[in-house]
Symmetry: C2
Subunit: 338 residues, 2 copies
């Protein structure tokens, strides 16, 4: 039985220990999460995703700094950063990342940064990430930045944890037709072109704008006899007014250009979520996804305990020898025919 | 009951239909895969992975062309390409990909290209990919190129299907510390710097070489008083001689530069696998992974049928209301306490 009082009052050492428990999936960690759960649901979760090379880490760093030093006279927010790196299942990339990012924020007690590398399955990583976000939420961090590397399905799944998702691009990556993907667009609330001082920024913006117009028909435009035409929206105007329209923001994380406008856009999205009822809807989707990921992992772990190593190995052998196909093998295993 | 004879004799229309059955996870598709399974295990599976912007598709295209037009007097190999795009869960990126790549290979009956976008879960995609690779294998395609977009865990998992894995980099992506990841290195049998005619290729090669030296201690070098020193291997020389050493190949897929050397390296790796016994070991790992992915998906699908929509929804509500945490909820659900 873990005493959650120090966590709720935001004690760093207790929190740090709990995060390790959660990462290691210990019974104590799970029990603490159960106790902390009623205290969650206050934080604004901001996902930041995009391909390698877009400068996401520096951008997250800048955002954290901006929340700690607001220029609108509001009190600073407590900020947690969860940097998730599913591409690094083996070694200490996460540690290196920590050091690089700590320079600007070191020593600020209102900032807590946690990097996570995938140690086991992807499902395990999604579970730990959700748990760590809950711990930060219960500990009173008002803004939680969830940074994911890459643009695969795994990152999309982790980004779905967030209320507000930033998709980061950079000039020079967009020349491959695979660099900008429809799937990523579907999860973007805000598009960021970082490294916007680099050549090619106009091309990147044009490409993103084109994708936006395709993805969001209320502002669809098309070319007609060489002219760009604005199309009448097929959605009712009043209804359209209530829909969030992702827009493009240009930043240079290395010198801070564009960060204030980006912070404003994030705040506007948060207000939109609250006013439209989308906040509650996203919370539900988020919790359902978390529950189902957890179910999946728990089912396989429990099932595996029902069969001895020898029995399982014998089954694998018959597949290796191509006596039985994997699909048939799974059917037999689940019917306890081993 | 599907008649597998036309598949085994490589009839394109029958094969194409089967691939759709497999993608749609139909009982007919699964039954056909069970029947085809004893006929698999002949093909050389080559995984090609790397971040967006590295030009993987063009490279795969060139490799397919090279296998169709060998310059060593050997007969051409039948080539299948499976292009997996987990970042595109929603729309027709795969179709666009097909069109772009078909130019050079169109009309060649010895080439079969199949693009797959993720329609459902990632587990589903891994399952379909494994099934489609088996169908190509049974249909007599000797070389199967499995192309995966991005560099996330999902792509790593799919790349593990392969006997030989190529990790593709390109100049200009490596300035982010996240661009080259240890996790990706662990799966690389061959490293490719594509777009090697671009500025910065020396930096990319130096970075990759540095990572290689770290990852593969038998050729570890280090700096000592500013000089590069070769370190005596800690592994026995005879043993080291039998280990495969990933090396770096530079290509320009758009004009074909470097492709013959890359093809030679792939052939050498295949020979190494066969001579060292690694071929059998990799086959086993591959089949075990496939079986376990399948188990995971089947377990959750079956479990979900045991509980009514109303019961499940009521449980979700209690989580949404934060009356019960997700971990506790999963424990109760699996103990049938609903």
């Amino acid at each position: 039985m873990i005493d959650i009082t120090p966590i709720l009052s935001g004690e760093r050492l207790a929190l740090s220990r709990l995060l390790t428990q959660i990462e290691n999936d210990t019974p104590e960690g799970n029990e603490a999460l159960n106790q902390l759960f009623p205290h969650t649901g206050q934080a604004h979760l901001i996902g930041v995703t995009g391909a390698p090379g877009t400068g996401k880490s520096s951008l997250v760093n800048r955002l954290a700094y901006a929340y700690r030093h607001p220029d609108d006279g509001q009190p600073p927010k407590r900020v947690a950063v969860v940097a998730v790196d599913p591409t690094s299942p083996f070694t200490g990339g996460a540690v290196l990342g920590d050091r690089v990012r700590m320079k600007d924020l070191a020593g600020d007690p209102g900032v807590f940064i946690r990097s996570m590398a995938s140690r086991g399955s992807l499902g395990g990583l999604a579970k730990s990430t959700a748990g760590i976000v809950q711990a930060f939420d219960a500990a009173g961090f008002e803004t939680i930045l969830i940074e994911t590397v890459g643009a695969g399905q795994a990152e999309v799944d982790i980004a779905r944890l967030a209320h507000t998702t930033l998709v980061v691009e950079a000039p020079g990556l967009g020349d491959d037709i695979q660099a900008i993907k429809a799937g990523i667009f579907e999860i973007a609330d805000i598009l960021v072109i970082n490294k916007a001082d680099r050549p090619g920024v106009e091309n990147t913006e044009r490409a993103l704008r084109g994708m936006l117009n395709l993805a969001h028909p209320v502002r669809r435009v098309f070319q007609h006899h060489g002219q760009i035409m604005e199309v009448q929206p097929t959605v009712d105007q009043d209804e359209a007014a209530e829909l969030w329209q992702p827009d493009i923001y240009k930043t240079v994380a290395t010198d801070g250009s564009g960060i204030p406008d980006l912070v404003t856009a994030i705040t506007q999205h948060q207000a939109y979520l609250e006013n439209s009822g989308d906040w509650v809807r996203r919370e539900r989707t988020r919790l359902q996804t978390e529950l189902e990921n957890l179910l999946r992992e728990t089912l396989i772990t429990r099932w595996r305990k029902q069969i001895s190593d020898e029995q399982y190995q014998a089954f694998l052998e018959s597949v290796f020898e191509r006596q039985i196909g994997p699909i048939e093998a799974v059917n037999k295993l689940l019917e306890n025919k081993f």
